[in-house]
Assembly symmetry: C2
Homo-oligomer: 430 residues x 2
C-alpha cells in the first residue's frame, strides 16, 4: 500500500471510498474469473505456490514482525500459536494450493439436462457466486487457503485478516497477486483490505452490490457480530455443540469406542462431542467403563443426578453446561429416558452442527437422521468425522450451520450455485 | 379471529406478542411437518381441496365482501381483476392442490451416498428449510397455492396476504386448517396473519429465530422494501428485464419466430422480452419483417438510432428505456456490434432473470450461456419458457434472481436444503 493511500484512509470518508473501490474492482474481476478456463485457474494456483516457496524468507520475516508486535501487545499464547508461521507451515501452505489445483473444477458442470414436452431441453449449470468476502482472525495461512478455494470455484475474493497478522497477510497477498498476473488473470481477483481500521469491515458488510457472500472464520463473537451487521448473506458457523446419544439398543463396545474417540481425539475442534446422552436402560453397562477411560485421560466430567449415582468422580452438571461448547477436556453427561428425550434435548440445547446416535436398531437410526435437524447427522460414527476432507470434498472453507444454500462442511461446490440453461431450435412457447 | 384478539392487537406491543406467538407455533409445527410421511401430507392436500370445493360458496361470498370494499376504495382495475374469484378460479385452486399432492416428495431423498477410505459412508439428505413466510398481494389463490407447496416440502408456513383480500384469505385459510386437522397434522403448520396492520409484516421480518426464509410475491417496490428490512433471508424476484440477442450467425426464420413469440405471446409476465438486441450485420435481414409484425400486433417500438434508420415507425429509445421492464406492448430495440457488445449491454441493464441468444454458431452459444449471469440463459428458445411448469418442476412458488441457494424458477426442491448423513459401524476417526 502506498504511503499516500495510508494517509488517505485516515479519514472515514476516504476509507469508504477505498473499500468501495476494492468492491468495484472485485466485481469487475469476478466477471473475468467466472469465465476463465480450468487450466488458467490451475496455472495461477501453481504460480502462487511457487511464489510462496520463493518468497519464503520474506513471509517469515513479515511474520516475525507480527509476532513481535503481538508479544508486545501481550496477546494470549493460543493466539500467538495460530499467528506463528515457520518453514513447515509455509511449505504446507504451498502444498495446499497445489492440492486445490488438482481438485475437479465445479464451474460449468451441467446436470439433469432433459427434454421437455415443448421441445426445449432444460438443465442446470453450476456457476460461481461472484464476489466472496472472507473475514478471519490470526492464522495467516487462511489468506492463501481461502483465496485458492474462491479462485478455483471462479469467484473473486476480498480478504480481511486480523490486524495482528497484517504483515504476514500482505506478504502472502503479494505472492497471490503476482501469481494471478503470471497466469494472465486480473490481480484484482484476490484483494486484501490493506488497512487495520475496523470500520473497513463495516463497509464491506454494507455493499451487497459488490459482495455476494461473506464467510467469517473466527470465534463465535466475531461471527455473531458480522451476522447481525451484514447486509450481505453470511455463511455462518456459529458453534459445534455436538451430541452423541447412546441408544438402549446400542452395541456396548461400539458405543464406548465412538464416544471415547468423539471426545478425546482432539478437544479443540468443532466436531468434538460436548454432551453425552445415554438411554437409562443401557447406562449401567456403558458408563462405568467409559467414564473411567475419560477420567484416566484427564477429562473432567459433569453429570446429571442419575449418572452421578453410577460413578462418583463427577461434579453436578448445571443448566449452563448443556448450553456450553467446552472445546476442551470437559464433558457433560445426561441419562435420558429414550430416543424421544434425546431428540428433545438436542433440539433444545444443540447448535445444529453434528450429532450422532449409537444404535443397532434400524428404526431408531432412521428416526434420528430424519428428526435431528443438524447439518451432519451420524449413525455409529464419531462426530470428529465432521470435516470436508473426511467427507471427500477435497477442501473446506468452513462448516455452515445455515439452513439456506449450504449446510455442513463447505467445499468448492458450496461456493457456487446453479442456474438454468435452456436449449431450443427456434422453439416458441405455444 | 376472536373479537378479543382483534382488540388486543390494536396496540403495537400486543401486535408484537401476537406475531411472535404465531412464529413460536410455526416453529413447533415445523418439527412435526418435517417428519410427517408423504402419505399424511398428501392426505392433507386432498382434504384441503375437498374442503375448498365444499366451502365454495363461503369463499365466493367472502370474496364479494373484499371486492365491494375494493371498489369502494377505488382500487385500480388490474388489481380488482387479480382479487376477484369466481367458480372457475375456485375449482382451479382445488385442482392445483391435488396436482401438488401428486408431485414426488423431495424430503428425505438421500443422494451421493459413497464410502470413504475411513470406512464411513457419506451422503446428502434433502430436508425442509423449516418455517417459510410468504408475503403477497391481491391474488387469494396464492393462499392455497403457497401453503400447499410449503406443506408438501415439509415446511411450516406463515401467510401474510394483502389487506384488500383479507376475507377471501381467511375463508381459504379455514379450509386449510380443517384439512390439516383431518389428516392428523398440526393446524398451526399453516397460519395466516389475521390482521391488516402493516406493522405485522415488520415483526415477521424481525424474527429469524422463528422464520427461516421469506418469499415475497408482488411488485418490485414490495420486494425491495422487504429485502431492505428483513433480518430473515429473502428469496427475491425483483424483475424480469429479459433480452433476446440475435447473433450475426442466427437463422433468420428462427430469430423472427422466437423474438416475436418472446414479446407478444403474453406481455405481462416476467419472462416476456423487453429489449431486443441484434448484431449489425444481420439486422437488415431480420428487422424490417420482424418489426412490421410487431407493429401489426400493436407493439410500440423504441429504437436506437441505427435501428430507426431501418424502419420509420419507431420513436427514439432513451437511456431509461434500456432499464425498463415494460410488462406491456412496448419493445426497445438496439443494434449492437457483436456478441461482446450484447453481453456488455445485458450486464449493464439486465436484471439477471432470463436472457436468450439466437445463433447457429456453437462457440457463440457456449460463450453466451457461460458469460451471461442470469438465472436462466437460453439458446434458440423463447424467454417466455422461463417458468417452473415448463422446466418440469411441477409447480412454482416464484422465480429467484438471488445468487445464493436457488436461482430461477423455485419448485419444491428450492424449499428444501441438503444436510449430511454419515453411517458407520462403530467407526472412529484415527
Amino acid at each position: 500500500m502506498s504511503a499516500q493511500l495510508k494517509e488517505n484512509i485516515n479519514s472515514n470518508i476516504d476509507l469508504k471510498t477505498y473499500v468501495r473501490q476494492i468492491g468495484r474492482d472485485a466485481r469487475a474481476a469476478s466477471r473475468q474469473i467466472a469465465k476463465s478456463s480450468t487450466a488458467m485457474k490451475n496455472a495461477a494456483l501453481e504460480a502462487i505456490a511457487d511464489n510462496i516457496m520463493t518468497a519464503q524468507q520474506n513471509i517469515l520475516d513479515a511474520n516475525t514482525q507480527d509476532m513481535t508486535a503481538a508479544r508486545n501487545n501481550q496477546l494470549p499464547s493460543a493466539l500467538l500459536d495460530r499467528l506463528e508461521l515457520n518453514a513447515e507451515r509455509v511449505v504446507a501452505m504451498a502444498e495446499g494450493l497445489r492440492q486445490i489445483a488438482r481438485l475437479p473444477d465445479p464451474v460449468g458442470a451441467i446436470s439433469d439436462l432433459v427434454y421437455r414436452p415443448s421441445g426445449i431441453q432444460v438443465g442446470k449449470m453450476r456457476v460461481p457466486l461472484g464476489v466472496i468476502g472472507i473475514i478471519y482472525e490470526s492464522r495467516p495461512n487462511v489468506t492463501a487457503d481461502a483465496a485458492a478455494l474462491c479462485l478455483k470455484s471462479g469467484n473473486a475474493t476480498i480478504l480481511r485478516g486480523g490486524s495482528e497478522a497484517i504483515n504476514s497477510n500482505l506478504a502472502i497477498a503479494d505472492c497471490i497477486k503476482q501469481g494471478l498476473e503470471q497466469a494472465g488473470l486480473p490481480s484484482t481477483a484476490v484483494q486484501i483490505l490493506e488497512t487495520t481500521d475496523r470500520e473497513a469491515v463495516g463497509e464491506l458488510l454494507r455493499m451487497p452490490e459488490y459482495v455476494d457472500i461473506i464467510v467469517p472464520r473466527g470465534g463465535k463473537s466475531l461471527i455473531e457480530r458480522i451476522s447481525r451487521d451484514s447486509q450481505v448473506p453470511v455463511i455462518k458457523h456459529l458453534e459445534g455443540l455436538c451430541h452423541i446419544y447412546i441408544d438402549a439398543e446400542a452395541d456396548v463396545q461400539k458405543a464406548i469406542d465412538v464416544a471415547y474417540n468423539a471426545k478425546t481425539r482432539r478437544y479443540g475442534i468443532c466436531g468434538s462431542m460436548e454432551t453425552l446422552l445415554i438411554a437409562e436402560s443401557i447406562a449401567p453397562k456403558v458408563l462405568p467403563e467409559l467414564l473411567k477411560m475419560y477420567l484416566d485421560k484427564g477429562v473432567e466430567l459433569r453429570g446429571c443426578e442419575k449418572s452421578r449415582a453410577l460413578i462418583e468422580q463427577m461434579s453436578p452438571a448445571t443448566e449452563d453446561d448443556w448450553y456450553t461448547e467446552y472445546l476442551g477436556p470437559i464433558l457433560s453427561i445426561k441419562i435420558v429416558d429414550d430416543l424421544d428425550a434425546a431428540i428433545r434435548h438436542i433440539e433444545t440445547y444443540g447448535s445444529q452442527h453434528t450429532d450422532a446416535i449409537i444404535t443397532e436398531n434400524l428404526a431408531h437410526s432412521r428416526r434420528f437422521i430424519t428428526e435431528v435437524d443438524s447439518s451432519s447427522v451420524m449413525v455409529n460414527a464419531s462426530t470428529q468425522f465432521a470435516d470436508g476432507f473426511e467427507y471427500g470434498l477435497g477442501a473446506e472453507i468452513g462448516i455452515s450451520t445455515n439452513k439456506l444454500h449450504v449446510r455442513g462442511p463447505v467445499g468448492l461446490e458450496g461456493l457456487t450455485c446453479q442456474k438454468y440453461v435452456v436449449f431450443g431450435d427456434g422453439t416458441i412457447r405455444p
